[in-house]
Amino acid sequence: MHLKRIARTVSDEELLTAYCQKKDKEYWRVLYERYMPLVYGVTLKYLKRPEDARQAVVCIFDDLMTKASVESVPIFKSWLYDYVRDYCWKELRERFADLSVTLDENLAEFCDGFNIDFIRGDAANERVLQKCMESLPEKQRISIRRFFMEDRSYKEIEDSTGFPLKLIKSLVQNGKRNLKLCFEKKEIV
């Protein structure tokens, strides 16, 4: 369908507007499909079973298809993400009849704006960064180097270092946080 060819260059919001105007469900489907694996992944994370995740993806597809034509949506991706988390939360609450169900909340720190690539673009900053690297614990330093400077994926780092996957993830995250703190200190100085 011709829509597929255009779709690469059209923004989420433009696609959403087109759907609302033309009432053509194909527009909605193309838009949703862009993020469908994310929806699948998140529902899989909280609902655990693949069959539940699949069903959730379809339910959310249906729910939002009707909601989209009613609500005003400034940013599609965040709107979608919020709904997915909300959906998972409701599902878990129903399933476990446990009002104390919470989802992961420690994700805010990820969007900390500390962009290592950007920093490395500047020669002076690069030197500061290298200094900070040296102050990191060894495992963190290794992981950071492999991940950010050598462009290795978690799995590849696991292959080469033997560290378990979950550990590598936390090493990278903590290392990045430490670098940020160190960098900011150095900047002030």
Binding site: V58, V84, L107, V172
Partner: protein, 248 residues
């Protein structure tokens, strides 16, 4: 903007290795949605995830089509079936009403001269139609079984029999026969003997007058045979007597 969908599929297919995998993971550090999704996907076999994502893609396509396109498909097939039905019915009716023309050649020898007359008539495909027309004069024309001519004809006739039997055939003759004016005036009567073949449609064809009375009576006899009931198909020549009897 590169599709997150295809990037995730690539990520899974590459077994989470390579520069692009790293790029995706780096992006995830700044994108909570992506981060949580990758977390979820990490918990199961990548083949399962790939299968599910591909399945969901097909599922969603069908899902929007189901609503209205399926209705359209049903309506379309129903319409096509209806069209076929109507056309079939039309063809059937058309075959039924189509006049079936045939020529027959009447050899008349009134003055011992053979003349060829082309006589076109219309026969009916409908084998069970028996025409009733006004009888100009009451004539009693059912041949007696004691009739010599009749008996010899029956012996001769190895060919066809009319549908409904001879009784019904002669009842039809009695109802439909229009005694020609000139024969009435001249008080001419007798049996007209016709030979004919029956074609595959059950209609008499290649009718010949073997024994005649007058030209007009011959024509009338041929008309009666053509417009009468169907005969069963054999391959042989058939004979029939059309009696013309004046009322005494």
């Amino acid at each position: 903007m590169t599709d997150v969908n295809s990037r995730i599929l690539k990520y899974l297919r590459s077994d989470r290795r390579g520069k692009e995998a790293n790029a995706l993971e780096r992006e995830a550090l700044n994108d909570a949605f992506l981060y949580e999704a990758l977390e979820g996907l990490a918990e199961q076999q990548r083949e399962q995830s790939i299968r599910d994502i591909e399945f969901l893609s097909r599922c969603l396509k069908v899902r929007i089509n189901t609503r209205w396109k399926r209705k359209l498909v049903w309506m379309g097939t129903a319409a096509v079936i209806l069209v076929f039905f109507v056309v079939g019915l039309g063809i059937y009716r058309w075959c039924g009403t189509q006049p079936y023309k045939e020529e027959s050649f009447v050899y008349v020898d009134e003055n011992k001269e053979v003349a060829e007359v082309v006589f076109e008539h219309e026969g009916l495909q409908d084998s069970l139609s028996i025409q009733k027309s006004q009888v100009t004069e009451e004539v009693d024309i059912v041949p007696e079984s004691a009739d010599e001519e009749w008996e010899s004809l029956m012996k001769e006739n190895k060919g066809s029999v009319p549908f409904g039997g001879y009784k019904q055939f002669y009842r039809y003759i009695q109802d439909s026969l229009r005694y020609p004016e000139d024969a009435l005036q001249q008080r001419r009567e007798g049996n007209i003997k016709l030979s004919f073949y029956v074609n595959k449609a059950g209609r008499p064809s290649h009718i010949r007058v073997v024994k005649w009375i007058t030209y007009s009576c011959n024509k009338e006899a041929i008309r009666l045979l053509c417009e009468g009931p169907a005969w069963n198909y054999t391959g042989d020549t058939s004979f029939v007597l059309i009696p013309f009897r004046l009322q005494k």
